[in-house]
Symmetry: C2
Subunit: 350 residues, 2 copies
């Protein structure tokens, strides 16, 4: 079995499988990105970010950069969560210094204009990137595929841009839950196809990013965050029983212990604001946990960074734990600090 | 004793005191504001927002408007958390459609340019507003004074504006905790003076708003959120033992049960994302709780709003509970929905 061979040789997959390992594996959300000069060099062309994500050679190159430099235990496919609306026929563009802009979907007619037809053609370059990575990654580095969770993707599709409070999607969901549910269902279904194709191309684990889950009250969180992730997890499980799924629902705080039981994910991403004792006592017993160093500690560096790393390792390691940040690497991060982090984790002993 | 008379006659103060009452008191964060046409009429002049806050007749008038219209059990002084940096000599202005702009304080020299001298002169109009309100409020309506918590106020002082991630303050705090601590100490001390003067002018309860507490990891939350609030709470307690304090630390999720024990506040504000069972089981036993209806439900209205109100009342009421939103009223809110909410709470029986 290819799966068991992989699990045998890759620390990251062993950790997700709950096995005993020498030290926790590590990777960093947004480990490929603007803080690396070699990324900026490749990113210079083409100027359009969607086109860049859909250029397999370039996406593969930037995915490999942090692995080459720092030796993470896992690489995450370089792509963007808004490739799913792009694949559905929604116009997506990125404005320099402002972020993504989409032609908003605000009603049933807007949903009707989206189409699953041609989805795989529109995003097929992503699968090609995964195939290249599966060939080119070092043998002990695992490959993570990913997608945005339906709720978070829908917040962008409805607002037409990033919002601090996700007001347009939340209001639609309150006023017309059936109509909004139709959008969530469509995104859920196409995300299943998208992730299944990534696994078929060589992804060994999947992460689902629900960046904007934290604004929702409990009932809405169950309906728009937990239920769609559960549906994706079940569909993937039926086809690929050995591929683990990490759910990262940022900012859900007191609801975190319920994410894995409610969705079936094997691992739960933890943001930086969650206290480690809560993670250890209430989340880790039910799931592998991944996180949660403050990305700004990686900017600050020094003794504060070392203390943060050590506390995380000693509280949550070595088993059922994947070392990561609580959110993505920020552009101001000195690469030397990432190198120091990698050294410290590698030299750690329980 | 004036205090016991107030407590006897005012539902809001009884609730904060843990006494049995007929139904939970209610008020709404940002209940005076742009969703009310009568607010917009008064707000039209002067154009400068700081000057508006420092006009006692106008600030008093807009504070009373929602009480006249909806009959809340408490009124909160109309002011802004950035009056404290204004009082310290930092330049504060509000740009229409963009929000506050301050000349950033980014180092020790910047802190040295701030001064407590003349603080009460610069913000004395606020105390006059409180005196007017104490005279003009209906006899059964409690008067709440407030300030921003030192952490949240400092995030604006350091960034010079609102930020989604509070990066400038968080980085300063990591790189130079002693230097940043000097800013926090200064804001803490002047906030104690500011709140004490509000109580002397007639405020019967105090709310401390820590809107941006949710981005901090545990150790930083204890140092920059809990410790300064505890210091303010203790200083007020020494002078005004009967005046209750509500702490509202938005987005702190799993850390919520620790807020009251760590700071000594009598009541804890709850944001909309916290599940009610967690509030009931983990927070309410140690503090009166206040919250947490999603402000967007008040925009949506209808059956969803009614269900939300009923669930909140039946789960957290009638004792040790103050009905409120999870965050401020938003400008799109139809006043009719607020009227419907007021009717529903008033007619509720346990």
């Amino acid at each position: 079995m290819a799966e068991s061979l992989s699990v045998k040789s890759k620390r990251f997959l062993k950790a997700l499988n709950g096995e005993a390992i020498d030290r926790p594996p590590f990777w960093l959300m947004r480990q490929a990105g603007r803080y690396l000069p070699e990324y900026l060099a490749v990113r210079a062309t083409p100027p359009d970010f969607v086109a860049f994500c859909l250029d397999p050679e370039k996406a593969c190159a930037v995915t490999l950069q942090p692995i080459d430099r720092f030796g993470m235990d896992a690489a995450i496919l370089f792509a963007d969560i808004l490739l799913v609306p792009h694949g559905l026929g929604q116009r997506v563009r990125f404005v320099e210094g402002e972020g993504p802009r989409l032609d908003p979907v605000t009603d049933g007619a807007g949903i009707d204009r989206l189409t699953r037809e041609g989805f795989h053609d529109k995003v097929g370059a992503v699968y090609e990137t995964v195939r290249l990575l599966a060939k080119r990654l070092p043998g002990d580095v695992a490959l993570i595929g990913f997608a945005g969770a339906p709720w978070t993707v829908a917040t962008y599709m409805v607002a037409g841009q990033g919002t601090s409070d996700q007001k347009p999607a939340r209001l639609w969901a309150y006023r017309d839950p059936e109509g909004f549910g139709r959008l969530i269902d469509l995104v859920t279904e196409v995300t299943i196809d998208y992730l299944a194709a990534q696994v078929e191309a060589g992804a060994e684990a999947i992460q689902i990013f629900d960046t904007w889950a934290g604004s929702l009250p409990e009932a809405e969180m169950r309906r728009w965050v937990f239920a769609p992730i559960a549906r994706i997890r079940a569909a993937l499980k039926a086809r690929f029983p050995h591929v683990p799924v990490i759910g990262f629902a940022k900012g859900i705080g007191a609801m975190l212990p319920e994410l894995a039981p409610a969705t079936g994910v094997e691992a739960v991403g933890i943001d930086a604001a969650v206290p480690l004792s809560f993670v250890r006592d209430r989340v880790q017993p039910g799931a592998v946990v991944q996180g949660n160093l403050d990305p700004l500690l990686l900017v600050a560096g020094g003794a504060a960074l070392e203390r943060g790393i050590d506390e995380l390792l000693s509280t949550l390691g070595p088993r059922r734990f994947v070392f990561n940040l609580g959110h993505g690497v920020v552009p101001e991060t000195p690469p030397d600090h990432v190198a120091a982090l990698a050294r410290r984790i590698r030299s750690w002993t329980p």
